[in-house]
Amino acid sequence: MADEDRDHSDLSVTRRAFLKGGALATGALSSTLIPTPADAQLPVATESDPRRSVVEMTVNGVAYRKEVPNRTTLLQFLREHLTLTGAKMGCDRAQCGACTVVVNGRNVYSCTTLAVEATGAEVLTIEGLAKGDALHPIQQAFIQHSGFQCGFCTSGQIMTTKAFLDRVPRPTEDEARRAMSGNLCRCAAYKRILESVMTASRLMQA
């Protein structure tokens, strides 16, 4: 990270709290903030430097407010500023899907979304799926079918599955195949990924 990309606000605090086993939500304003619709809230340019902004967004139900350089991608924001490292960087060019997260209900590539653009948004990452120790049905399905080998693409696969099944709860296999087409798997676990998606759909109905 270049120096200007370093978080001058509270990453160190977050990291220390994290190492102590504390909540990841140290940087949160308040976990009860009501999320605002995407276009109601605007990022605020920092007074001293027009190339930095204060961004605010809800990630996994927790509201965050941080000052970042404008060039910070949502993926960098999640990984480096919030230490939510579930979303992975593969290509950094909107091509592989490893960085997929759900923004306002849609699966998007966080490597090619600016953090400032997500100001006001509700973001869901792989860290937000399980309820305590209870895995989300999609996570259960991926484990049941071994819908992965190395696992690098898996958080992205699961977040695409989440956005997809929320919109199309009972897909056909062909619909599922198309819905998953933006998530590449270098290990080519495609057959098992597809089985996982179809099983997840059934588990979510139950």
Partner: protein
């Protein structure tokens, strides 16, 4: 990626006020699926981005005079799934549905799709060719398997957009705002060929904003199809594509619009193929004749001759599916 100032205006007027006359200094950011990649590769180093993806005035699909009006910042996924678009201009929905991946369509706007830059690898790797203000095209003697077979020279890019051929076939009009004034331009006149200016692909000036696309309803008795051929089944840009709309009455073709993607530096209207069909019954012989006419005048480069029979076959197949 170099850092930049960022502003997200809430009105079109405020957005327009940010723009200047100089190329590449202050740039519009829509979905960012193209621009951010270019910035990461240092193809563009803007000082300021004006974010318009969430600008209310540029959103949505509304009924318009004899068709639909689509805001330039409307997402491709919303267009592909829109009931009015599927009903009145199914060709556009079909084309939008083939763009990239679900994630790309959830991020990319239709305005950005029309204004995206070419995918030529020399351009993307910052070779000082015509597109970067130079005076040479590296594809001519280099790796040109994905380049133009029609209307190429001095640059041989192919226009990458899938929605563009569909909108040309539908006879759409784009609305452009300069300062406070708006004008409508037939979409065929929006695109610029390399002989006119090899450095760009459309008429937009740095201080102009594409605000809306007016899409006339497909005529009564018309059938349309978008067929896209790729190296793989999904995820990729077109090796070649065709947007075909045929209007028949009493079994005879009254009007045909055949527009090719992926083979020319702009969406290419295959006028000769259209002429072949008019007044005829759309049968196997007519479709084959139109397929041949579509690639009439093709001048492939050293490694892309395969595109000629491919395009011919895709046009023939598309037309037969409408018979």
């Amino acid at each position: 990626m170099h850092n930049f100032a960022y502003i997200r205006p809430t009105t079109l007027r405020d957005a327009a006020a940010q723009l200047g006359k100089e190329h590449g200094k202050v740039m519009l950011l829509a979905g960012g699926t193209d621009l951010l990649g270019e910035m990461k590769d240092d193809l563009r180093v803007p000082e300021k981005l004006v974010a318009i993806r969430q600008l209310r005035e540029l959103q949505g699909i509304r009924p318009g005079r004899g068709g639909l009006r689509i805001g330039a910042a409307t997402l491709l996924s919303d267009i592909a799934e829109s009931a009015p678009v599927r009903e009145q201009a199914p060709l556009l929905a079909m084309a939008a549905e083939t763009v990239g991946t679900p994630q790309i369509r959830n991020m990319a706007t239709i305005g950005g799709n029309l204004c995206q830059r070419p995918r030529c690898w020399y351009y993307r790797n910052n070779y000082p060719c015509f597109k970067h203000g130079g005076s040479v095209c590296y594809s001519v003697t280099g790796e040109n398997e994905y380049h133009a077979i029609l209307e190429g020279g001095p640059s041989y890019i192919v226009h990458p957009s899938d929605t563009a051929p569909a909108l040309v076939a539908l006879g759409a009009t784009v609305r452009i705002s300069t300062g406070g004034r708006e004008r409508g331009v037939p979409i065929e006149k929006f695109f610029v060929g390399p002989r006119q200016d090899p450095a760009r692909e459309n008429i937009l000036q740095p201080n102009e904003i594409l605000t809306e696309i007016e899409v006339p309803s497909a005529p009564a008795g018309s059938k349309a199809v978008y067929v896209k051929e790729m190296v793989r089944e999904v995820w990729d840009f077109a090796l070649c594509s065709v947007a075909a709309m045929v209007t028949t009455s009493g079994g005879i073709v009254g009007d045909a619009r055949i527009v090719l993607g992926g083979v020319a530096p702009f969406p290419y209207r295959a006028l000769k193929a259209e002429a072949v069909l008019k007044g005829r019954r759309l049968d196997e012989a007519a479709a084959a004749a139109a397929g041949a006419a579509a690639v009439d005048g093709a001048r492939p480069l050293s490694k892309n001759a395969y595109k000629v029979p491919l395009t011919q076959a895709v046009v023939t197949r598309a037309l037969l599916s409408l018979a």
